[in-house]
Symmetry: C2
Subunit: 471 residues, 2 copies
Amino acid sequence: MTSIDLNTTTITRLSQHIQKKEISPVEVIDIFLNRIEQAQEKLNPFITILDEQARQAAKKAEDEITKGRYRGPLHGIPFAAKDLFFTAGVKTTCGTRILADFVPNEDATVISRLVDAGAILIGKANMHEFAFGTTNLNPHYGNVRNPWNSDCVSGGSSGGSAVAVATGCALLALGTDTGGSIRIPAALCGIAAIKPTFGRISKHGVYPLCWSLDHPGPMTRTVADTAIALECLAGYDPKDPCSQSVRVGDYAAGLTGDIRGVRVGVPDTFYFDAIDPEVKAGVEAAIDRIRELGATVMPIHIPDLETAAAATLMILSAEAAACLEKFHRTRPDEIGKDVRERLDLGALHLAASYLKAQRIRRKVQRNFAEAFSRVDVLITPGVSIAAPRLSDNTVRVDEADIPVGVALTRCTRIFNLAGLPSVSVPVGLTESGLPIGMQVAGKAFDEATVLRVAEAYQRHIYQTEHWPDLS
Amino acid sequence: MTSIDLNTTTITRLSQHIQKKEISPVEVIDIFLNRIEQAQEKLNPFITILDEQARQAAKKAEDEITKGRYRGPLHGIPFAAKDLFFTAGVKTTCGTRILADFVPNEDATVISRLVDAGAILIGKANMHEFAFGTTNLNPHYGNVRNPWNSDCVSGGSSGGSAVAVATGCALLALGTDTGGSIRIPAALCGIAAIKPTFGRISKHGVYPLCWSLDHPGPMTRTVADTAIALECLAGYDPKDPCSQSVRVGDYAAGLTGDIRGVRVGVPDTFYFDAIDPEVKAGVEAAIDRIRELGATVMPIHIPDLETAAAATLMILSAEAAACLEKFHRTRPDEIGKDVRERLDLGALHLAASYLKAQRIRRKVQRNFAEAFSRVDVLITPGVSIAAPRLSDNTVRVDEADIPVGVALTRCTRIFNLAGLPSVSVPVGLTESGLPIGMQVAGKAFDEATVLRVAEAYQRHIYQTEHWPDLS
């Protein structure tokens, strides 16, 4: 047991030790709860820590495994859930004090799926208010700080989830992504994560922000772990009207490390503009490495990306205002300033503008479908900048001052509009020691290829063996 | 040939004569063109009459049939299309002078399907401007008058299509239905027609008014003819993103006349309120007849129908304003007053209100799904009133003056929101000699049952053997 370094482990590795009974889920949970204690004080990744509940679940897992009833690679693995996933009997705040006392009476479908696979819910992760805040300055549950530099943001809105995973408080965290809220904190905290295809993972029991852009997804330390988690989470759910009945792949088994002949498109506009030079260099170097692994890398033109990015913001703004209208109307003073200002704006959008944006969406989807007739994946930066400081409202990029929220979501949000799967994978650190993320996106429901490319890169090139030190 | 009374014939009957070569499509077309000449002068059902094109197509059909290449029950049958179905090389005005010179370069999918089945396009039918007018006072192409009383409206927006069929200018007409625009003129003119399930019939090449409520469908003299037409028109079309891939039934063969044991629900609220007493009595008598045919008739409660009716109007208003925004913005003076006023209003709707209406839609769909777990079809009045006079702006119902447009769409429009199939079938005449329509609605994609019930009624009870006299 002493040979297992729980500070640097992954689902892939720890599950083998658990299966071989080299460590018990009860021991695992105790060690992780200790790490949560350390991380919570410094970085504040959790709103609720479920120590008792987790210990009980660990005991049950231990019993089952002792009796030979090993359920699979998630059995005994501690996970966190962003505090907008419904958890029966456990408060689910959605990051707002308005819902401080909201206790759902059933689990979200994805929580049930993980629990059925034997995973152990260890805590509810901190998040931007309603997943709609634009800064890390959460007025209700405090800032989530970046584990690589605690003066910097963790990114959001699934910042607590990313920090929980990066610091080894959990090996898996559930996040949601409406304009990048899974991939941005993953990139800024140096972990792997996927926003799958729209309809791939059930949204039943997930507090909505934006019906047509919200995507739940797993956040983990490595792409291999992401594949294991996605295999459990994906699949049709009749309780979610957006859920699609499309075959779920053998994602983990498909990680062959072989990407020879895979056609990789690198967009020739938009994604590499308005970008921090260190991030650009890091992602370009990673693309060179992917070419060296045998992929065919080519430039590709996707039209009208600026329009697509604007349409995404319009839909997000209008749907969020409609979704949160009740709170915005009746309890505005309890909503944080950043969220309230966005709701004030969203409430004024005209239906005709919203519908125009939705029509642009159809065009954008056609443009991406056309691109994916020529390439298998697209590679872009994950986020155009490394983690800004908590105090920054704007960042200086390309000699312009850009609002932090706009800079952070630039590379991610169009894939919410298009509904296409995209992974964020770490590709190194800036000179000041902040993670750089790369995004690999693919065809609708082709998570398998996206994961295979990202994992091959991670397996051969940038092995994420070092993690932020909590001590 | 003299034994065939073309004034009262149907697809079902005429097709047998054509198949047996007792009459040639060339003779048929000449007789129908003669009737068009009579009807056009009195009632104005057409915007464009395609005499030359129809005669050529008839010659081709005659040749084929002579050579033994009979295509099926639509071969040689004259049909009309509402003037918003794209017809290659033939102007398609959408009822507005703004598009007076618009000539598409391809046929709508449904036009191609009918032509491939051997049907002959005889004219483009008059309609409300953009299918959005509220009155029959069309400022561009003139009023369409009711064949049963030319002082009365034909109903809209597919009024020309209904009149063409009622007067025997065509045995089939294509209409579109966004809030009742197929079923209302069908009811008011005494013919049968279906608005099928959303996604059942392709909208490719159909000028849009409202993306989420528009439904194309066939209008015919009898339900048996509707079934023949639907069998040709229904089916998946990759060119229409709303099209659904669901098996098309053998609708005509399924008309057994036997409805013993069919569970018929009669809504206990909304549909029989705010209704003309003669219409109510007519529909109730028809329901009694259906019970006598062996169906199990029961009252059923569907909640929140008033809200559903309001949500439909909101979505229609907002989407129409977005859809026609270009014309509304650049050429408002050329748009009729009734349409312009609706667009002025629609352009002011907030995105949040539109989204609220779309959320109500989901609830309405669940409510109907619940109702259809207990019954096989619902029966309601087709339209709450018989055809009002052209000069009427309001009608007096239940001691209240109601705007004509509101009264006409009351019973039909919620089925557009729910996207469910519904047939309008004639059930008799008022004392003043105006048709009364009954609506039979069913589960999504269960057009077969809806048609079977309506046809059984028509077969055994109210045989539509008399038609308005043009002379």
